[in-house]
Symmetry: C2
Subunit: 329 residues, 2 copies
DNA sequence: TTGTATGCGTTATCAG
DNA sequence: CTGATAACGCATACAA
């Protein structure tokens, strides 16, 4: 294994000089810079990230904290895009990434959780799918021990940023479009899971729309469950003009119910998962670019590493209809 | 950050003694062992994996090498299960995992690839979705620089094992079942991508079945593409009795084609992805437990770390039909 | 601008 | 059975 020492020898300079060149320190002459780079080239040197992490306390190691959906693999594509988006950007920025699932840190105290991440030399954490129930995680954020980026939340402090689409506006937009296209009055809104930020925001958006357009809004909790959405639609869908769902999966469940009842009502969803292209009926939905969101989160983490304050970053969304023809290949 | 030094002080022993206890070295008295463990408990000590990796050359860091499917997110669930299966098991075994995509190492020479993994202190690599085209990867395997486990392949050497289901048998089984249930003679077999081990194996299984059952076998390459399978079925499906596909996605494409042509032919797939539950028609398919495969791969890697020889591990498969009722929740 | 020396938290070797 | 102590590869304060 060729190390920085070998490079130093090859270039005829000191180890620290090599390190300085590699890390783009200011006070290095062009000539030595070139000497070093040439040596690096010749020896095909790649810095040992592990040693670097151990040496400098700001390790450049980041953790992706993901909540696995035990419920259905149909939305695995969301996590997958989060992962690929984050890892790709991290590689570009030369950051090391480890993936952690909630299940691994479940039940830990703040102390334990802090130690767990510290023991891995983690300096930044990106959190996906956090709910209000994750108390310890909230404490971790408040402690500002690590630089953190929370996806879909509204928590900002000196070391914490937030990245996500404007869920309220997105919900408003997609429902508004669906209603406009079909002229509806009575709306069945199937919301997501209680205690989730996105659920609250989307509901807020929906309520605003109901206000603006003088709609009769009937809200039920679908818990992001396809089955539940189906049951709710069977029960309450008949005397409504439209079913607005806080997720695609629930929209699919609702559509199934309507088909079963042999009645037509427009339905719209949220997320833009590929499954929407397979269910036959086209529905409006909100398309989030999950990879871009994760990618942005990594960038934001870098900003925090640089000492900047946490902030709220809003990502764009699009309204789409997924057709089989568009997604097949 | 509490370190091994603190534990040593707390326990009143030397640093090296603590290390020995933590790593289950043989020659440590029960009494000191207890003293150390108590101190660990009191201080809530978690060993720093990064330092450990740097110090001991067999780092316990493993890389997951994944090929992203640019084609469709419908099968992201497969990669996701690979990832979760591997990471969960790795955590259990106290191994550090990093995720790497082919795109990151594309175009690298053997030298570069070796250095890349070495620079990350990787000692084991699990390879998913390798094809015959990945020449450099084959060289890496042959070099035996790292302990490696290849999923779905037939390469074994002193440092390399293979894990996967018996694709030939699985293909045989699922096709046999489908044919038996429907009494068919003329079979359209839509194979996967050329130069892929699984494609070859599955085709072998299919040919054996054709032999055994005296079937007229008509083979075409579908490249694992839903669209292509659809086109092939439109073109060749009419005068066949059954369409056997080397993947679920192709099976779905084939079924679409048949529906378009308004004719019925039994269709079977391979993989057991959740989408199969959504397409209306029930089809036989092979269910692989991807998480278990990845989990097994980690275990196998440990075996290799322990100095054992590479070997071929065959995982079980199941024949299933995915119904909407079974997958919804 | 460059080099020297020390430390990061472990593991491993070798005395004791 | 236990304890110094030297690596591991790199970053960095400080000296030159």
């Amino acid at each position: 294994m060729v190390s920085i020492k070998d490079v130093a020898k090859e270039a005829g300079v000191a180890i620290s000089t090599v390190s300085k060149v590699l890390n783009h320190y200011p006070n290095v002459s062009e000539s030595t810079k070139k000497k070093v780079m040439d040596a690096v080239e010749r020896l095909n040197f790649v810095p040992n990230q592990v040693a670097a992490a151990l040496s400098s306390k700001r390790s450049g190691r980041i953790a992706l904290l993901l909540k696995l959906n035990m419920k259905t693999k149909a939305i695995d594509e969301i996590d997958m895009q989060y992962i690929t988006g984050a890892i790709s950007k991290a590689r570009e920025k030369n950051l090391d990434v480890i993936t952690v699932f909630y299940s691994m840190i479940e039940g830990m105290s703040l102390e334990e959780m802090t130690r767990y991440f510290a023991s891995q030399n983690i300096s930044g954490i990106i959190v996906f799918g956090m709910t209000n129930e994750d108390k310890v995680l909230h404490k971790l954020i408040a402690s500002e021990t690590f630089k953190m980026v929370i996806i879909d939340a509204d928590i900002v402090n000196g070391s914490t940023s937030t990245v996500g689409v404007d869920h309220a506006k997105a919900q408003y937009d997609v429902a508004e479009k669906t209603i406009r296209e079909n002229t509806c009055k009575r709306v069945l809104y199937i919301a997501g899971m209680k205690n989730s930020y996105v659920t609250e925001q989307r509901l807020l958006g929906m309520k605003k729309l109901a206000d603006d357009k003088k709609l009769k809004l009937f809200v039920r909790n679908g818990d992001f469950s396809e089955l539940k959405a189906r049951e709710l639609t069977l029960k309450y869908g008949k005397n409504k003009d439209v079913v607005v769902c806080a997720s695609d999966l629930m929209a699919i469940g609702a559509m199934k119910a309507l088909t079963d009842m042999d009645i037509f009502r427009p339905v719209c969803g949220f997320d833009g998962i590929i499954l929407m292209g397979y269910v036959g009926k086209q529905m409006n939905t909100v398309k989030q670019d999950f990879a871009a969101i994760a990618s942005k989160a990594v960038k934001e983490l870098e900003r925090l590493f640089a000492g900047e304050q946490g902030r709220k970053v809003v990502m764009p969304h699009k309204l789409v209809r997924l057709k089989y023809e568009d997604i097949i290949c």
